[in-house]
């Protein structure tokens, strides 16, 4: 098959004050024409660097040491400045991760899309027409009027669609998508994946998709390149990689993906260790330090690129015969997976630690005067509406919903960080709503929160030592007390971080390490309840498992109660006892997590369960399970609020709001036609 792009022996360094970082070393990648190539790797693997090096858009301190990037007959790295502009405008386009920051906020889409066509010499009417056609093609309704709108007028999914339209406007031979769905919800992600596949077939374009999300790669791509620490470890067709992975890293990575673990398991597989420091180029295999198969020779001798089949290449001593005897790596299963034998006792008979009744959180959208003038009868939105639930002692409750469903607001309201409008929250029988901060403070010992952004939730100018001792100081231990240091060390031990981390600062931590510090901080006061907001967001797949295992172990040892807030249903399923599904501030389904996951009763739950793409190319979804986007809270749909996106909706759903009903298995569902009974 013909190659559109060939990357040969590409080496990229970054110059930093502390020496050179060898970010890419001897990269060879073939991009085949009319196929979708997935570039997969964890953060720090250099997957974005490959893309920026190809486009010659590296940061100023990035140096292309050697290599070539052949596009057709040309070497992109040898292009003059003019050639480069032409190449970027006409031959290649990029769909960026975050459409909000990659689109120009002060120009409307019509202007932005006309600018892209400046080299074509079309008249402005023609440019406008081409732009409108393209917007229609990517599924933006009513493109004639929407083209005059600005990025902030579009919702997240629409914005990404517009981003794809802009990228395709010049009919490029090569389309590069850098984490195209990372900023989107699962239901939007499925829509974007299908759109990209359709467009690729229709426009006979070639795609490179960069992602850390194995499910996305499996669902979208034809060929896959696995990058690790700046080297290509494995390269092959999607089936090769996902059904017959040859490199231990690929195998471990696949095992780690929670969506791939079919059986519910309390302990998730992980890859221990960290990505190596690339200041010194490693001598042997880059993965040797973390590889469970590694033999003595692996860390000193660089493995060659072995060709298993014509399409399948792997860089591993397992498949080469450079090493002999004892030096060889051990064959066999990677042994990364672990099973959980400790059965958990049922928490069903436990009493409630927190009990929430008809909680409602209302945000004002305009002042009282403006509402009077504009005759707006509802100058507010209800982010959380009529939520009642009990959190039992020692259980893990997963709260799942898309962004904008009110799940974060709900969690923060329990802790009194956001005032409630109505309803009640009791903690061990004490009413929390309306409690002044002075009286709330002693209760804060018993409830802690883990925040979404692992690094951003740590005060940037504080060392880990003071971050860990601060909760104790706030609750009455004197600062400067030497016992505080011991306490901080004990907390670090609990989250399995080395003690010399005490003098580090948040920006010196990786995402996973910062998350551990966050866990330690939450544990500092020995709370009874921990509310974890997206505990795995922003973490690599291999680290996600570690954090969840850690939380799980701490729960077992300390009898903690967890409320885990997340959009990622497959992840939370493994660790929760019960699940609550939230949509537009309401709980639409609530019950035992396995029952819900295996047989969702609410159509929305079904969409979430099937929304996450499976890392298995033979299980590609044919139909999009859910259409449209989350409606605005300002105008809630009538009747069942999900009816506009529900494929089972009837007239009754449009007019009459369903009441939560408790099914025989103890599940509460707000749906007229629950899927399990029909």
């Amino acid at each position: 098959m013909e190659n559109l792009v060939e990357i040969r022996d590409l080496c990229v360094d970054f110059a930093t004050p502390r020496g050179r970082v060898h970010a890419l070393r001897n990269i060879d990648i073939n991009v085949k024409k009319n196929r979708i190539l997935g570039v997969v790797g964890e953060s720090g693997s250099g997957k974005s660097t490959v893309i920026w090096a190809m486009l010659r858009l590296l940061a100023n301190n990035g140096i292309i040491e050697k290599g070539e990037v052949r596009y057709g007959d040309d070497n992109v790295l040898a292009y003059s400045a003019d050639d480069l502009l032409k190449f970027r405008n006409e031959q290649v386009s990029v769909v960026f991760q975050d459409p909000m920051t990659s689109q120009i906020p002060v120009l409307n889409y019509g202007q932005q899309m006309a600018d892209i066509q400046y080299r074509t010499g079309r008249s402005s009417q023609e440019k406008q027409k081409v732009a409108v056609d393209m917007l229609r093609r990517v599924g933006i309704p009513d493109p004639d009027s929407r083209i005059t709108q600005y990025p902030h007028n579009f919702s997240g999914g629409m914005r990404q669609r517009a981003g794809i339209a802009m990228a395709l406007l010049m009919r490029p031979g090569l389309l590069i998508a850098d984490e195209p769905t990372t900023a989107l919800d699962v239901t939007m992600e499925a829509q974007i994946i299908h759109l990209l596949r359709e467009l690729k077939d229709e426009m006979s374009a070639t795609l490179i998709v960069v992602s850390h999300n194995l499910g996305l790669i499996a669902e979208l791509c034809d060929d896959v390149v696995v990058l690790y620490a700046g080297e290509v470890l494995e390269q092959g067709t999607c089936e090769d990689i996902f059904h017959n992975p040859a490199h231990p890293y690929t195998r471990a990575l696949l095992e780690c993906d929670p969506a791939r673990v079919e059986e519910k398991s309390r302990i998730l597989p992980v890859i221990s260790g960290e990505v190596p420091n690339l200041r010194q180029a490693p001598q042997g295999c880059v993965f040797a330090a973390r590889c469970s198969n590694a033999g003595p020779g692996c860390s000193t001798v660089r493995p060659p690129d072995v060709s298993l089949e014509s399409t399948h290449h792997v860089r591993c001593h397992l498949h080469a015969d450079v090493l002999t005897g004892d030096q060889r790596p051990k064959d066999g299963a990677s042994g990364q997976s672990a099973s959980d034998s400790t059965a958990r006792q049922s928490t069903a008979e436990q009493e409630a630690l927190v009990s929430i009744k008809n909680l409602q959180v209302r945000f004002k959208t305009m002042g009282a005067f403006k509402a009077l003038v504009t005759k707006n009868k509802t100058p507010y939105v209800d982010a959380v509406l009529d939520v009642s639930m009990d959190l039992r002692k020692g259980e893990t409750l997963g709260l799942v919903g898309e962004s904008g469903s009110g799940k974060t607001t709900f969690g923060r309201t329990i802790l009194g960080l956001i005032p409630a409008y109505a309803g009640s929250v009791t903690f061990e029988g004490r009413e929390l709503i309306g409690l002044p901060e002075r009286q709330f403070k002693p209760l804060r010992r018993d409830m802690a929160m883990m925040f979404q952004d692992p690094i951003g939730s740590l005060s940037p100018r504080q060392s880990v030592r003071s971050l860990l001792s601060e909760p104790l100081e706030i609750h009455g231990r004197a600062g400067g007390d030497t016992s505080l240091d011991r306490e901080a060390e004990r907390l670090l031990d609990m989250v399995q971080l080395p003690r010399d981390f005490l003098s580090r600062y948040p920006h010196e931590l990786s995402g996973g390490q910062a998350r551990r510090v966050g866990v330690a901080r939450a544990l500092a006061l020995q709370p009874k309840l921990i509310i974890a907001d997206e505990p795995t967001a922003g973490l690599d797949v291999s680290v996600q498992g570690e954090i969840l295992n850690l939380m799980n172990g701490l729960q077992r040892d300390h009898g903690l109660t967890f409320l885990i807030i997340t959009h990622n249903l497959p992840v939370v399923r493994h660790v929760s006892d019960r699940l609550a599904i939230m949509y537009l501030g309401r709980i639409v389904e609530f019950g035992d997590s396995e029952q819900i996951f295996n047989a969702p009763a609410h159509p929305y739950t079904e969409a979430l369960v099937h929304g996450v793409p499976k890392p298995d190319p033979s299980k590609r979804r044919e139909l999009i399970s859910i259409e449209g986007e989350v409606p605005s809270l300002a105008n809630r749909p009538s009747g069942c609020e999900f009816h506009a996106r529900c494929k089972y909706a009837t007239d009754r759903c449009r007019s009459e709001a369903p009441q939560p009903t408790v099914a025989a298995d103890g599940r509460a569902v707000s749906c007229h036609f629950p899927l399990t009974t029909t």
Partner: protein, 303 residues
């Protein structure tokens, strides 16, 4: 005021048992700073300014008030290195002593307004809405007065003095710091780490002291370094107009003022009074910019 690089290296050496990362972090910054030629020049000028002002009696060749009538309005000679003024006072000595006034005004004025501005600004940014409105009204009222008009009014009421110059400098520069601190605080107040502190039960004062001020002070320090020359020129300007330091006390402004009257006879007092003003201004500006480049990673252009 400014971050003294010799200080940072001293703490780095003292904390030899500290782990490598924290240590080399400081050293990285130091290396970045040292490579900045403009910054090093600025640092040199600033140190020279401090040294000459503090040790003025030591460097001086004459008494600043001693008159040498026969040699009045002379050019540079072996006796009077930078010439003399219309009363025969040694210009070099007077400029040295003038630096003391400039230093006093700059250091006291800038540091007081930095501290007050920082406190008021973070309070306005993090505190209740009504406090923010009141403080903003206050800042904007002060800023709406031209400095010179305000100084004229104050002098008319209280008579010229060094203290008054200081007070005017402080009052007029506070809003700048407060505004900057307020904006920085507002962008931080809803960030996750502040919410995290609130969830732990941290009081407003603790959040202000430990988590907001350390994060907003950086740009303020740089503004302060760049404000020093402004303050020095304000003092010189007011003294030049006769609203500040009173003759016969030497200040760069009074030296300029007196030299200006006799500029047709001798240009030396004006030259000698102007050059240190220019050098100090340049020095602090260079230093401020270099500090900003070093400590604001967003501006780090991959050097």
């Amino acid at each position: 005021m400014s971050v003294n690089p010799s200080d940072t290296s001293a703490t780095g050496a003292g904390a030899a048992d500290a782990p490598q990362t924290a240590h080399s972090e400081t050293r990285d910054k130091l290396i970045v700073f040292m490579k900045n030629t403009q910054g090093m020049l600025g640092l040199f000028l600033v140190i020279a300014f401090f040294a000459s002002a503090i040790f003025a009696p030591f460097f001086a060749t004459h008494d600043p008030f001693a008159m040498d009538i026969p040699a009045r309005m002379s050019g540079p000679t072996a006796e009077h290195w930078l010439g003399t003024d219309q009363l025969g006072r040694d210009t070099y000595t007077r400029v040295l002593y003038g630096g003391r006034v400039a230093l006093q005004v700059a250091m006291i004025g800038v540091s007081v307004s930095l501290v007050v501005g920082l406190l008021l600004g973070t309070l306005a940014g993090y505190g209740p809405r009504w406090l923010d409105s009141i403080l903003l009204l206050l800042f904007d009222s002060v800023r709406s007065f031209p400095t010179i008009v305000m100084a004229l009014a104050a002098v008319a009421l209280l008579g010229p003095s060094l203290e008054l110059v200081l007070a005017i400098v402080i009052v007029t520069t506070i809003p700048g710091y407060a505004r900057l601190a307020r904006t920085a605080t507002m962008s931080l107040r809803n960030s996750e780490f502040i919410t995290a502190e609130r969830s732990l039960g941290a009081s407003m004062w603790l959040i202000l002291r430990r988590h907001l001020i350390p994060n907003v002070i950086g740009p303020l320090l740089i503004l302060a370094a760049m404000d020093v020359p402004v303050v020095v020129t304000v003092e010189a300007g007011l003294s030049f107009l006769g609203l500040g330091v009173l003759p016969p006390t030497a200040s760069w402004g009074t030296v300029l003022n007196e030299g200006y009257l006799v500029i047709r006879d001798t240009p030396w007092p004006v030259i000698a009074g102007g050059i240190p003003l220019v050098l100090t201004t340049l020095g602090f500006t260079f230093l401020g910019e270099a500090l900003r480049d070093t400590f604001d990673p967003r501006l780090n252009r991959g050097r």
